[in-house]
């Protein structure tokens, strides 16, 4: 795979800002670096994939080679990804040779400040390859299992539940959707498979957090969630803690299917270190009267490109994207939403808030598609940007493709700044500049943070405090 390398930006940013740390890990079992047909065969063999998955992967690989980099509309920084230098598969159980003593002091403090439990700190710091939460996880698994819910890893899903898995896998997001969905199709491992039977309302949110391990936080995870008729489920992934990163490219694919009258909420909170390219494809298919809601918080990374979408395929379907993006110095958050109104009387809502700090860049890219012959479709889009200090940049590209008179679209955008007078006012009341900034930023995202489950919203607030403290001289 020929990749162009521009030397204008270093391969890996060595940036000691909050949540950013890395050290080398000794890999015993992996597929080596680089990607070719052999790598894919290696992955298939190790994972004992069925033949149809092998074919699916190879087809994905071909499409990955064919598809152009989206540099023409996104960013040239993508050209700095060197595909030959990436490890596409790490086997499970690889033990990092680190001890807690090796973990940088500032990182320990960050865990402390975020209130991350002791056990999880070790995993997150890369000291332990497995997060031992089998107890908590099996409780949830047992609880939902009684209701007939399947909640397993994607590998287990495709092996043990092929009848459901095969029906929907790769149907919402075809491999050919974009270069990175194709790459994921070729080399995916990890991620979750969930099936909720008709009418079952899952009381507990299902959390990827409970089953953190090398697989789940994999670079190329693949998640498929199917909510059968009239069922309800909430899924949460990620955590606010900075995650030890050995790999610079993360490219996940998440497919959701909500059958008639079903409801899916998918909550993501991610805090990437600033050497990471996070290029994710997330889309849901909502049947008649179904509802899909993406609640998404992206912090950090060198470049995040993520545009969660909902295809409203059945009459009365609803789609929603609530997102918060925070781009600190040197980071680029290119996020947005895609709402495809493929049936009458469908409703979509997008609320996006971005915060750019220092040289951070936040871009909103939206697509709302309502073909002319549709009736009774509604979209509401709000995107607000907050700039902190004069270098910050924000761009909004809302593409609303709505034709025909029997549909309604509403779009509002705002850009505001935390100005020095506001900071002075708050400092006059005794708050430090950092505290004043984080109050202002928390105030800006406050209404969206409330949409997150309780434990996430508390962590989010602390995380914003940390980011803001780090951002003032």
């Amino acid at each position: 795979m020929p990749a162009t390398i521009e030397e204008d930006k270093p391969q890996i940013d060595i940036d000691r800002s909050v949540g950013d740390f890395r050290y080398d890990v000794d890999y015993t079992y992996d597929a080596g670096v680089g990607l070719n047909e052999k790598t894919i065969d290696y992955i298939c063999d190790v994972k004992k994939d069925p033949e149809w998955i092998r074919a699916f992967r190879k087809d994905g690989y071909r499409k990955f080679l064919e598809k152009p980099m989206p540099t023409h509309w996104a960013t040239k920084d993508l050209d700095n990804i060197v595909f030959e230098n990436i490890r596409y598969y790490l086997s499970q159980g690889t033990q990092p040779s680190r001890t807690w003593e090796d973990v940088p002091e500032e990182m320990k403090q960050t865990f402390e400040r975020l209130g991350i439990p002791e056990q999880e700190r070790k995993y997150l710091a890369g000291v332990e390859a497995q997060f031992d939460s089998e107890a908590a996880y099996s409780n949830i698994k047992a609880a939902v299992g009684e209701q007939g819910v399947i909640f397993v890893g994607s590998t287990e899903g495709l092996h043990n539940h092929p009848e459901i898995f095969k029906k929907w896998f790769g149907k919402v997001i075809p491999s050919s959707d974009n270069k990175f969905s194709a790459l994921n199709s070729a080399v995916f491992s990890g991620g979750s498979f969930i099936y909720v039977p008709p009418g079952v309302k899952v009381k507990h949110p299902l959390q990827a957090y409970f089953r953190i391990n090398a697989q789940n936080f994999g670079q190329f995870e693949r998640t498929l969630i199917i909510a059968d008729e009239g069922s309800e489920v909430m899924y949460m992934e990620g955590c606010t803690a900075p995650k030890f990163e050995t790999s610079t490219l993360h490219s996940a694919v998440v497919e959701l299917v909500a059958l008639k009258g079903a409801k899916i909420q998918y909550v993501t909170v991610q805090n990437w270190s600033s050497n990471v390219f996070n290029l994710v494809t997330k889309r849901g298919l909502a049947h008649e009267d179904a509802e899909i809601k993406w609640i998404d918080c992206n912090i950090g990374s060198r470049l995040t490109m993520k545009y969660p979408g909902v295809i409203m395929k059945g009459r009365g379907a609803r789609g929603e994207v609530i997102s918060i993006a925070l781009a600190n110095d040197g980071q680029h958050q290119d996020t947005g939403a895609k709402m495809i109104h493929a049936a009458d009387d469908t409703t979509s809502n997008v609320v996006s808030k971005s915060i750019s700090i220092g040289s951070g860049v936040a871009t909103y890219r939206g697509l709302v598609d309502i073909p002319p012959h549709r009736k009774g479709c509604k979209n509401n889009t709000e995107c607000d940007a907050l700039l902190i200090n004069s270098h910050s940049r924000t761009d909004t590209y809302p593409a609303i493709v709505a034709r025909g008179n029997s549909n309604a679209c509403q779009h509002e955008a705002s850009v505001s700044k935390v100005n020095t007078e506001q900071i002075f006012y708050m400092q006059q009341r005794g708050l430090t500049e950092g505290q004043a900034m984080s109050l202002a930023v928390n105030g800006f995202v406050n209404d969206l943070v409330r949409e997150f489950p309780m434990e996430y919203s508390v962590e989010l607030k602390r995380l914003i405090d940390l980011e803001m403290e780090g951002s003032v001289g």
């Binding site: 002075f424 006012y425 009341r429 005794g430 500049e433 105030g443």
Partner: protein
Amino acid sequence: MSLSIQNLTANIGDQQILKGVNLEVPAGEVHAIMGKNGSGKSTLAKIMAGHPDYEVTGGDVLMDGVSLFEMAEPDERARAGLFLAFQYPMEIPGVTIANFLRAAVQARLPEGEELEATDYYAELYKKMDALKIPRTFTSRSVNEGFSGGEKKRCEILQMSMLEPKYAVLDETDSGLDIDALKIVSEGVNALRSPGRGFLVITHYQRLLDYIVPDKVHVMVDGRIVMSGDKDLALELEAKGYDWVTEPALA
């Protein structure tokens, strides 16, 4: 024990605004500053509070013997006991009064000590009731969409929660209706104590009927040109500023 302004000069850009201000407010006293628009009253207040736009070119301000300028950041001065009720209070979208004040009170506690939420709310409600601020205001964003008078009342609420050693009130009376003026004045008077000093900037003698000052100073073009007792305010009200200014220019 005093707030002592000593020959203070200050610029904005290369324009001199304060041209040698001398003024001493002993703890326990209330002093008023009056003066024409643009004479430098708010500038003086903001410089003491540490506004980053102004450059102090000479002189000093001592708060109980400690120079304010030794404290680089505005928040250090605030925590040391200086409070400024702003002429134009800022709006902070999304930050509720309750959370804002809680953070400010918390910032004054020793390291490691957590503010007790129930005590805090009890105190906050008590003070809001005294200032006749509806309790529903706790969940409103700081100053956002407040009427002029509500903003001023909210400044006094903040002052009474933070209990400063020295408070500078910059035209807190402007925008207040007659009832509110009484309520706010009572709020200020309730805080008068032997250990606390006030510097009250106003254009109207009426305020000084309620908050009776120990001294009244007149500022003209970046200087205090005349000082007197509370009757000076009456005289200014009757005669205007020209009789003060002219001898100063001569």
